[in-house]
Symmetry: C2
Subunit: 347 residues, 2 copies
């Protein structure tokens, strides 16, 4: 198979470094993409460093990919050479199960093929992600990207964007919905922008006073400092929907108390500790705690189109491939507003 340059880790303790990986030649329904930009998601770091079970090395992370089509298979209909395309967290699925047929490929009952560190059912071995110069995917797993938006800042929409867009849509957030966004990071800042664009009344919930100015700049109508009991009192029983993007330990009961009757709290962050809530905290007020995982291909395209229409991209800091290790360290300190994006054009 042809090879390409990539950036990844060879063990849990190795730094991200240049590697050579194989990429198949495009099959009849595949597209080959020259990667221009790839966002850095916190999952990349967890996987590269073996912090989650199951990392297979060498590990090439990256699932927020924007690039240009450089070759197409004979039967490809949706893309032509030169088109700009995106790839998110999925590069394949069975396409036959009920979930795939409903466009919920992220819940493929055969197990979808994730963009990296997933068994590669086509080429064998495991998948390599977007920290690389090129990628080959089935055209059905490539997404159209509007040329109206800056491509580097589009990249994080492929994971952070769809992860927050999908639950907002699924739970019908819209005009008049009182939305609380918990946590202002890569996911949270997209949650604020998207919920505002959907017409919701958006409150940023944060324990960090330093986030207030930025939250409002991003469009939040209100900021509540969760360590200030007086401020918290003003939103007791207030929200229809809380988007919880926090991956650190936190008390879900505190936030359930901010939901009104029929309120829903949706978790997209994965803390190491389980959610622990007395049943009565759900029973009084008919409240729900739910989870949401990225989004299927049709909804990811819908999200990209929505962002193009509403001029929404991620707030990013552009880096070169040799800065990935440094970026990881800064992410661990929360020192990024709000997403690093690797610029492969600069190589």
């Amino acid at each position: 198979m042809p090879t390409t340059q990539a950036f990844g880790t060879t063990s849990a303790t190795a730094p991200v470094a240049s590697l050579t990986i194989e990429r198949r030649d495009p099959r009849p329904h595949d597209v080959q993409i020259e990667i221009l930009y790839c966002g850095i998601c916190h999952s990349d770091l967890h996987t590269a460093r073996g912090e989650w079970p199951g990392t297979v090395y060498p590990c090439v992370p990256g699932h927020e990919i924007v690039g240009r089509i450089t070759a197409v298979g004979d039967h490809v209909k949706k893309f032509k050479v030169g088109d700009i395309a995106g790839v998110g967290c999925l590069v394949d699925s069975c396409r036959e199960c009920d979930n795939c047929k409903e466009g919920l490929e992220q819940f493929c009952s055969q197990g979808g093929t994730f963009t990296y560190n997933s068994a590669d059912k086509i080429s064998g071995g495991h998948t390599f992600g977007g920290y690389s110069k090129s990628i080959v995917v089935p055209e059905d797993f490539a997404l159209h990207i509007s040329d109206k938006l800056p491509l580097d800042a589009v990249a994080p929409l492929l994971c952070a964007g769809i992860t927050t867009y999908s639950p907002l849509r699924h739970w019908k957030v819209g005009k008049g919905t009182r939305v609380g966004v918990l946590g202002l990071g890569g996911l949270g800042h997209m949650g604020v922008k998207l919920a505002v664009a959907m017409g919701a009344e958006v409150t940023m919930l944060s324990h960090s006073p330093s986030k207030e100015q930025d939250a409002k700049r991003l469009g939040a109508h209100r900021f509540v400092l969760t360590s200030d009991a007086e401020q918290v009192k003003t939103v007791s029983g207030y929200f229809d929907f809380i988007l919880d993007t926090v991956s650190a330990e936190h008390d879900y009961n505190f936030y359930l108390g901010l939901l009104r009757v029929n309120g829903v709290m949706v978790c997209v962050g994965v803390p190491p500790q389980p959610i622990t809530v007395p049943a009565l905290n759900l029973i009084f007020g008919r409240k729900s705690v739910a989870g949401s995982l990225i989004g299927g291909l049709p909804e990811t395209q819908e999200m990209l189109d929505f962002c193009a229409e509403h001029n929404i991209v991620s707030d990013i800091e552009l880096i070169k491939p040799d800065q990935i290790n440094e970026a990881y360290e800064r992410m661990l300190k929360g020192d990024v507003r709000y997403r690093f994006v690797i610029d492969f054009k600069s190589e």
Copy 2:
């Protein structure tokens, strides 16, 4: 104030015994009801014995009340003397807050007045429930009861019926919905009957093989013995909706695994231990854990009408007031199929 005979406890350790309590004369919008039957809910036992915080003595439990109107206030429009009426878990609420206006009086933001052991904003003191010969309530908190159904077996609909009906309706259970009912007791047996009548495909989930025959008699299409791994495998990722009526400790994660994508598990039982679920168990499959509390007045009437239309009542064992203590002991052993109802006519 006039007095009436009641049955209740004078302390956490006292048996249920005959007491004399006061009942106000009907005000212009009140109805006075001669109580014919009152179901025994597990909450009665917890409250009477001070097992939940906040019991005020003397404690007269009972919130599954069916009786006959014996007097009406001058402005009462909905009832006349001689009508059969029901009273459930609520006897008053503010009627002005958003929740009351939406018919969700159980979530009254001022705090609704529960039928027993609640501050009585009208007469002072605390409310006394249906273990008594009569009760006086605002007409808006009395319910019409069809004469098509046996009145003794209707009584448990006022709590067990609405507690299971409301979540089935709220989450739109209907034709084709795959419903699992967890626990076959006072609540569970109503859950089965109601979900079947709504057109759902209903599976009883129980760890007790002895429940199979009864579950099917009640209408369940299927019985899954949750201690049998082979049987459980057949319903992995299967249900759209699980109605969890269990009040004993149990592992919510086990049941989340039986939900399909977008599945919802609704808790109406209150175990002493909190619900403990890793966020990933909700995230994979976009699943929800929710709670539900009885139902508002309009929905309780809707449920009673639905039961009349579908000929649904509770399976009961009729007892006399002097058998309440014995009934409590038998309830603790699970020795009732499925609800004790006190017959006050027999006195």
